[in-house]
């Protein structure tokens, strides 16, 4: 049993590293920072000026929301692309054809994206604090880090869901990108979820991230543990459901693609 667990752990870590390294063989620090922070940063500026034009007076709301979405977007697209890449490199059938246990293989793909997203978000907050004079003096850093970390984990569940789609279709990442852009409307990144039409609010609360972002905003406003606890509990619950559904989809689609032979079609 212990041997099995150790082997799973080793497989998990190795899978994690391989999956991450295979995709990002970035050769310079500039490449890393620009690819991680460049797009979200300028997208955020774009939203801020859109807001300024229409008379939206709270640019910090947009800043915080966008920074919080960075780890989520990173781990979602990381996991999806990791599976999609393997498909196009033709390595997927070797992985799925091996007798290795599925869970560590499956989860292994997300570890570094979660860590990576976490680091980028912390970096994003540091930059935002410098540029937009985000007042960090009164807030509880431990709780903020917890929120960011939780957001990175729960969003990887969405990544698995879309990753499974990459197993059936070579265009899984397109669906992901479209969905990712919808998050800018739904989960309270640029404006409060409360200002959405009620049907969209229902969808928003059925997604991971919504509650986590609300909790992080409360922390930044100086709220204590009791205020955010129910939100975090909800976030964990929703996130866990998505991870479970993602895993089941992965298994189901793995089985199906073995019969339909779509595994390596590119």
């Amino acid at each position: 049993m212990i041997k099995y667990l150790l082997q799973s752990l080793r497989l998990y870590l190795y899978q994690a590293w391989l999956s991450y390294h295979g995709r990002y063989s970035i050769t310079s620090p500039f490449g890393y920072i620009s690819s991680k922070l460049g797009f979200p940063f300028f997208l955020m500026l774009f939203f801020i000026f859109m807001g300024k034009f229409v008379g939206y007076t709270n640019p910090l709301y947009i800043v915080i929301g966008n920074v919080l979405l960075i780890p989520a977007a990173g781990s979602m697209s990381g996991v999806t692309n990791a599976i999609g890449d393997e498909r196009s490199w033709g390595t997927l059938s070797y992985v799925l054809g091996s007798p290795a246990p599925r869970l560590p293989i499956f989860m292994g793909r997300s570890l570094f994206y979660i860590l990576d997203g976490f680091v980028t978000a912390v970096l994003g907050f540091a930059i935002a604090a410098g540029i937009f004079h985000l007042d960090m003096a009164t807030i509880n850093f431990g709780m903020l880090l917890l929120c960011i970390f939780l957001l990175a984990i729960t969003s990887s569940g969405l990544g698995f869901l879309f990753g499974s789609i990459s197993l059936i279709s070579r265009d899984g990442w397109i669906i992901l990108n479209t969905f990712l852009s919808a998050l800018y409307i739904l989960v309270g990144v640029n404006f409060p979820v409360g200002s959405l039409p009620s049907a969209l609010q229902t969808i928003a609360f059925g997604l991971p991230l919504t509650r986590g972002i609300m909790a992080a905003r409360l922390v930044l406003a100086g709220a204590g543990w009791n205020a955010i606890r129910p939100l975090l509990a909800g976030e964990v619950l929703v996130g866990a459901i998505y991870i479970l559904v993602g895993y089941l989809c992965f298994r189901l689609i793995e089985k199906r693609s073995l019969t339909s032979g779509t595994l390596d079609a590119i």
């Binding site: 970035i26 050769t27 310079s28 620090p29 890393y32 590119i266």
Partner: protein, 327 residues
């Protein structure tokens, strides 16, 4: 008309790669070192060598896709670095592998596109594309998407693409890799026909039989250098008039047979090929009669199951040269 089709003078290629995230290390790899060749018009020339020997790099320099680090090369008298555009009009090239086409469209659509890149008249294109597909044995599959092709079919489609603009000089990089025996025999016949039409062809391969069958002259290249260059016959003479005897020996009896052969002098080379069951011992010798005499008492299934005496093939020459470290 320039009499020389391909001329290379001291071609060198060094690749510089950078590794490392914070501290970048630069590593240079010498892929091709001091390659000089002259290939006459109408010649079918073979470039042989192990994987990574520099064959493809050489071909890419000659086809204007890579710039040499040092040295010059001319195609039909045109410099590959200075007169790139003119060179490209006169050459066709086909690389091996399943890449090189848009998979989501058909073979005909792919060829139509490439024909336009070579500024082919549309009337000529309409006529030539089906002809070429026919030539490479894909006549009935032209309207199928390339993603439905087997690797051998893609390989043949490469040749059709290379021939679109009827080039005078053809570069074929391992053209029969991944093609089944029947298909590759047909392809070799196609290559011979092209050669008999007067085309100059430079072919790289690591199938010795293919090179021996097709090529007028062969250069063996190892670790970026040419280590031998001559006609296949002359290359075979290069290693004297030795014969090769291959004996299939029962496992367990090999050592006994080897001991038996110890009486022969240093001109005879004995090699055990550990890949088959029963094991094969290959004996290259200038005195085959003597060897047969030594082995004859053991010619029964308990010891030696089979025996073959043959002249040296190009493969023997190749193996000897490459193993000698290219000296």
């Amino acid at each position: 008309m320039h009499p020389v089709a391909i001329e290379a003078r001291s071609l060198n290629k060094t690749f510089i790669t950078k590794t490392g995230l914070w501290k970048t290390r630069t590593r240079s790899t010498l892929a091709v070192e001091d390659i000089s060749l002259t290939i006459e018009r109408g010649e079918l020339f073979g470039l042989l060598g192990p994987n990574g020997a520099g064959k493809t790099t050489t071909v890419k320099m000659l086809t204007t896709l890579l710039l040499p680090t040092h040295g010059t090369a001319r195609i039909l008298g045109l410099d590959v670095v200075q007169q790139t555009a003119q060179v490209r009009k006169h050459i066709g090239f086909a690389f091996s592998g399943s890449r090189g086409f848009y998979n989501r469209i058909t073979a005909t659509q792919n060829l139509n596109y490439f024909a336009q890149l070579y500024a082919l008249d549309s009337a000529i294109t309409r006529q030539r594309v089906p002809q070429l597909l026919e030539l490479v044995g894909l006549g009935t599959r032209g309207d199928d998407k390339v993603e439905t092709y087997s690797s051998g079919m893609v390989q043949r489609l490469h040749l059709a693409r290379a021939l679109l603009h009827d080039p005078e000089v053809l570069f074929l990089d391992e053209p029969t890799v991944g093609i089944d025996p029947v298909g590759s025999r047909e392809l070799r016949q196609t290559i011979k026909n092209l050669s008999s039409l007067g085309k100059t062809i430079l072919l790289t391969t690591h199938y010795m039989a293919e090179a021996e069958e097709l090529c007028h002259r062969i250069a063996i290249i190892n670790k970026g250098r040419i280590v031998a260059l001559d006609s296949p016959e002359a290359l075979k003479r290069h290693i004297s008039g030795d014969s090769v005897i291959e004996a299939c020996i029962q496992p367990g009896q090999v050592q006994g047979i080897l001991d038996l052969l110890r009486v022969l002098d240093g001109r005879t080379l004995v090699e055990v090929k550990n890949i088959t069951e029963p094991e094969t011992v290959s004996i290259r010798t200038p005195e085959p009669a003597r060897v047969l005499e030594l082995l004859s008492p053991y010619l029964n299934p308990q010891y030696i199951q089979g025996l073959e005496v043959r002249n040296q093939t190009l493969e023997d020459v190749y193996v000897t040269i490459i193993k000698a470290g290219g000296q």
